[in-house]
Amino acid sequence: MNGIVVYSELEETALGLLTKGRELASELNKPLSVALLGEQAGDRAENTFGYGATQAFIADSPALTPFQASTYAAALKQIMTHAEADIILIGSTRRGRELAPRLAQKLSAGCVTDAISLSVEDNRLIVERRALGGNTVSAKVITSQQQVVAVMPKLYDAEPMTGGAGEVIPVSLELQGPTTKVLERRPKEVGIGNLEEADVLVCIGRGLNDKGDLSLIQPLVDSVGGMLGCTRPISHEYHWLTEDQMVGLSGKESSPNLYLAIGISGQIQHTVGVMNAKVIVAINNDKNAPIFKIADYGIVGDLYQVVPKLTEKLQSEFGQ
């Protein structure tokens, strides 16, 4: 067995994984292929060759709709057999996180989800992921014959190469139909979008008393041309902001120039999302709040006093 297969239900993620995959494939001296499942699998195949796949395994089956992890795991196991692959890279989306460990168990293989870095050392694939709630980063090697790695979906940008070519290989799958019924799909409300790309990120936490008090925060956000994000309780419990505005381990990760935390305690599951910010500023009325331990600058005080003063000062500096 010697080959790398890439799979993600998101095309952009699959192409990003192929982009990284071609580097790994050349270092590990393995062929790189892609698994494409579903109706238009064939139409998507050609494009993947421009990102490094040399084989595209395409398959469709009524059993693939709706998504059921066990069925997708069975499909990918069969494709790995066809490809004679020992490594599979899967996009660590919500779907990918349900699928990758199930596939790994089918293969009696080791698995790493939410990988944040892939590299090769001594001919081994080294995978990094966060551990201890985000306190640490651990580097791992999977030692089973086959390896399942689910990679953060936006980790690698898709970059086409020149002169890629490959072969389309249809695979007929033996699958059992899903037993799960999908009754409804309710699209989520979309907030302000790409927090990942914010230059200035202002986040609020449970220090804010009321949704109405967002009117106090927004002028501050505007004064520095920032984006507004939040901790998990604000979006997922109180629904004051949309869920795509939540920052942290289970939300968005961002590397802004400035991260401003307002009324946030600084628990690791949140702060891990902004660890790479250039400068961190915190406002909290508890001088022992853990957020001050990871801040460059902090102001101990009631946010209802501090925020208006800070806004005024910034507005006067920036003449708005």
């Binding site: 999977i142 009754l183 400035l258």
Partner: protein, 269 residues
């Protein structure tokens, strides 16, 4: 409805210290707690039981400290607990832990639903629910944030299905599947109750069983450090070099912080 709730005790992540010179985490001796996700799983199991009857069994693999930790689960409402603390299970990878849990579930035998936290608070890997579902050949739903049990009757036989709202990135997906199934839940599911003092006192009288490797029929080649197929090369805190300049006077703080931000060049005029 017989429900098994799988729970993992994790160290209090708030209390982890990092050795400044080596960046190693210091985790020894820290208190062990159940994570928010598993507490929600347990709370949901108790609520389902209140409505549909049956039994709630808490199941946990971990260090001998579980004897204490698990009391919280019994106080909140589990009828019975099973803990697996044998040293043979130490340093298992996710596959090893999943095998122990699946074998214990198999031994329990009668169940309609397996509930657990979608991911643990410490590793957040989400590997256990899909792995035990695979080992038990059951369907799974992850990221469940709403659950409803539907009991019906199909030509004389009782049917049990579960309706779950699965939390995807851009949508909520409402799915329905026949039980038994494995369901991984998130903290949006409910607000777990705090056990009243009387329940904490009574928890000590509920059945607490300890099972070892022989009880569940597992051997050292399936579990523990030797069976692990994921080698950890290092586990270190990323270097964080923060200034930690904290102002306790608001007026001064506001003035100094704005000055500093302009100097740092992180705000552009």
């Amino acid at each position: 409805m017989n429900i098994i709730v799988c729970m993992k005790q994790v160290i209090d992540l708030e209390q982890i210290r990092i050795k400044p010179n080596t960046r190693e985490p210091v985790t020894k001796g820290l208190p062990l707690l159940f994570g928010d996700f598993e507490k929600c799983a347990l709370e949901e199991a108790v609520r389902i039981q209140e409505k549909h009857g049956g039994k709630v069994t808490a199941l946990a693999v971990g260090s001998p400290k579980l004897k204490d930790t698990i009391k919280e689960a019994l106080a909140i409402g589990a009828d019975e607990a099973i803990i697996l603390t044998d040293p043979m299970f130490n340093d298992s990878d996710a596959m090893g832990s999943a095998r122990v849990i699946a074998k214990a579930i198999h031994k329990i035998g009668e169940y309609d639903l397996i509930l657990l936290g979608d991911s643990s608070a410490d590793e957040y890997s989400g590997e256990i629910p899909p792995r035990i579902a695979e080992l038990l050949d059951l369907p799974q739903v992850g990221f469940a944030r709403e659950l409803e049990i539907l009991e019906g009757n199909d030509q004389g036989t009782n049917t049990k299905t579960i309706r779950a709202v699965r939390d995807l990135e851009d949508a909520l997906e409402v799915v329905e599947l026949d039980l038994p199934a494995v369901v991984g839940v998130t903290s949006e599911l409910n607000t777990p109750r705090l056990a009243p003092l009387s329940a904490i006192l009574k928890a000590g009288r509920k059945p607490l069983n300890e099972w070892g490797p022989e009880d569940i029929g597992i051997t050292a080649d399936e579990v523990g450090a030797n069976a692990s197929v994921v080698e950890v090369l290092s586990n270190l805190a990323p270097v964080q070099d923060r200034k930690e300049i904290i102002y306790e006077d608001v007026e001064e703080g506001v003035a100094e912080v704005v000055k500093a931000l302009l100097q740092e060049g992180v705000l552009t005029q």
